[in-house]
């Protein structure tokens, strides 16, 4: 039995919803009642059945709608997908990785067959059946990175490793939490993280870089990151900030449950075999407050996290304008009782 893909939108009428099963599998990012940056990187290994970690590359009920939204973003702004000239080989590495993982995890939806360099890729949800020559860009309708990331949920950054640093030299970035690939492409690890407050002083990026440059093939790693988004909008790019920014002023005590979404990024890090690059998929999960608070533990914990968040972090995450409204709304769902350890719902 395959996934039933939802027909939904991430813009205009915002019909995006999570099914009850997808609410339960939401990757809630807080394992305790408070939050501060940490180098929270762990091995990216398969997790429990029914969780977002059941497969290392997760495909869910939002797949088809997300790919349609990506196509709309790219039609408006092709600069969201860029690859510096030396990154084509890494693009092929990524194509192989995503085809293999999607076919492995979801054989009813994706099939990859290989005869030497002649590959056939069948993507049933999107109605694609292409045969091409691996390594020959002229046999695909797009470059290899663009081709496969138009068929894979999440943003993708490909990092080149040289001089003991990682360089953001290619990417497909249409669902970003307010950073610009077009501006950051070509930067090193410290430079593209430069605007993040507090973390540099804590040595977070120095330690993270050390970890990432040592990632080995076949041993991916992962971490969670989070922010909040008003309306289930995937494209919260700085490019369009002047279009979606006004949403933040529309939150009222009456509509918090419907409008405010927790946005969680499952970031994973994979060594690429031919190019020795690192690919960094940033998979975005959205959940509206009304859905999230169906799990009482999450409601209590989120209330405490948002209430106690340091001011700099709240500002950086763009919560300032609606934070008090949200905390007030969540407080009614927090009876002060303890929460169990760990991420999952009770």
């Amino acid at each position: 039995m395959g996934i039933t893909f939802r027909k939904e939108t991430f813009r205009d009428d915002f019909t995006f919803r999570n099914s009850p099963e997808h609410i339960r599998r939401f990757p809630f990012p807080f394992h305790e009642d408070s939050y501060m940056y940490a180098v929270n990187i762990e091995p990216h290994v398969v997790g429990p059945k029914g969780s977002v970690l059941e497969n290392l590359i997760d495909v869910d009920e939002h797949y088809v709608a997300e790919m349609q939204d990506r196509a709309l973003v790219l039609a408006e702004d092709p600069l969201r997908c860029q690859s510096l000239p030396h990154m084509t080989l890494a693009g092929w590495d990524l194509l192989e990785l995503l085809m293999e993982q999607q076919a492995l995890g979801y054989p009813e939806h994706f099939t990859l067959t290989r005869d030497g360099d002649r590959w056939r890729w069948i993507n049933r949800p999107l109605g694609i059946d292409d045969t091409f020559t691996f390594g020959d860009t002229s046999t695909l309708p797009y470059g290899p990175m663009e081709y496969i990331t138009r068929q894979s949920q999440g943003d993708f950054c490909i990092l080149d490793q040289r001089d003991g640093n990682l360089w953001m030299d290619a990417g497909m970035v249409t669902t970003q939490a307010d950073w610009s690939l077009d501006f950051d492409i070509g930067m090193n690890f410290f430079e593209w993280h430069a605007p993040v407050p507090l973390a540099h002083e804590k040595g977070i990026f120095t330690r993270a870089l050390k970890f990432l440059t040592n990632i080995q093939q076949g041993k991916p790693a992962r971490r969670l990151n989070w922010t909040m988004t008003i309306n289930p909008r995937l494209d919260t790019s700085p490019e369009n900030y002047h279009k979606w920014g006004p949403d933040r002023a529309t939150v009222t005590p009456e509509n918090v449950g419907d409008k405010v979404h927790l946005r969680v990024e499952l970031q994973s890090f994979w060594r690429l075999p031919r190019s020795n690059g690192i690919v960094f998929p940033i998979r975005c999960y959205l959940i509206k407050m009304d859905e999230l608070v169906t799990q009482p533990k999450w409601a209590r914990r989120l209330h405490r996290v948002i209430r106690d968040l340091p001011e700099e972090l709240a500002t950086y995450k763009g919560l300032t304008r609606y934070r008090s409204t949200l905390v007030e709304w969540l407080s009614k769902l927090d009876d002060g009782s303890p929460t169990s350890p760990g991420f999952g719902p009770d």
Binding site: A194, E239, P246
Partner: protein
């Protein structure tokens, strides 16, 4: 001097003579003073293998002082744009052993560095010294247009007209600081425009 801020913000040093076969200096306005001061510390004959490319400021000063250093080549350009074809050719024909020295406004240093990066020169091998105006080149993240010589905070995009916060986040590839709409969430909020980068 530019104040220290975030990591992507360029940090400039003081020009010093480097070992090398050829020396290319690119400067504007008061950047000439950085070259003159470095010349005082340079070994005899240093400028025999040097080219100085200079864009004078509106007051037209410092030309004679640079010529008096006796560089093998001296070229005066009215603007960076007019200099670009020549600079691209010089860099694409350059051999190992060319050393690059950039001095003057941030806009000049950034744009010259951008051309050199495209020619395959590593940015850490370039000598830089900031002199003169703190005015910024700014890329509007929304319309992608570049506004030159931004001195205020916030600043108006000269292309799309949005009111932009001029961030310290800087791209060497674009040779520009990032400008992001400052009142995107409520366009009726209009913060006062102050002289921030004189």
């Amino acid at each position: 001097m530019a104040a220290k801020s975030i990591i992507s913000r360029p940090v400039y040093g003081t020009l010093s003579p480097q070992p090398g076969k050829h020396h290319l200096f690119i400067a504007d306005a008061e950047g000439a003073l950085a070259i003159s001061e470095m010349a005082a510390k340079a070994p005899a004959g240093f400028f025999d293998d040097a080219e100085i490319v200079f864009i004078p400021g509106p007051d037209g000063k410092h030309i004679a002082a640079l010529e008096s250093l006796g560089p093998a080549q001296f070229h005066q350009a009215p603007s960076f744009a007019s200099l670009l074809p020549r600079l691209k050719q010089t860099l694409s024909n350059a051999h190992m052993g060319l050393r690059l020295y950039l001095s003057g406004t941030e806009g000049l240093i950034g744009q010259a560095m951008q051309v050199a990066l495209e020619a395959g020169i590593d940015h850490t091998s370039m000598q830089t010294e900031h002199r003169g105006s703190l005015a910024r080149r700014m890329q509007c993240v929304h319309c992608k247009g570049i506004t030159e010589n931004v001195t205020t905070q916030p600043a108006t995009c000269s292309h799309c007209g949005l009111l932009l916060l001029v961030r310290d986040h800087y791209s060497r590839r674009l040779a520009a600081f990032q400008g992001v709409c400052i009142n995107a969430e409520d366009r009726s909020e209009i913060p006062p425009m102050e002289e921030a980068f004189p």
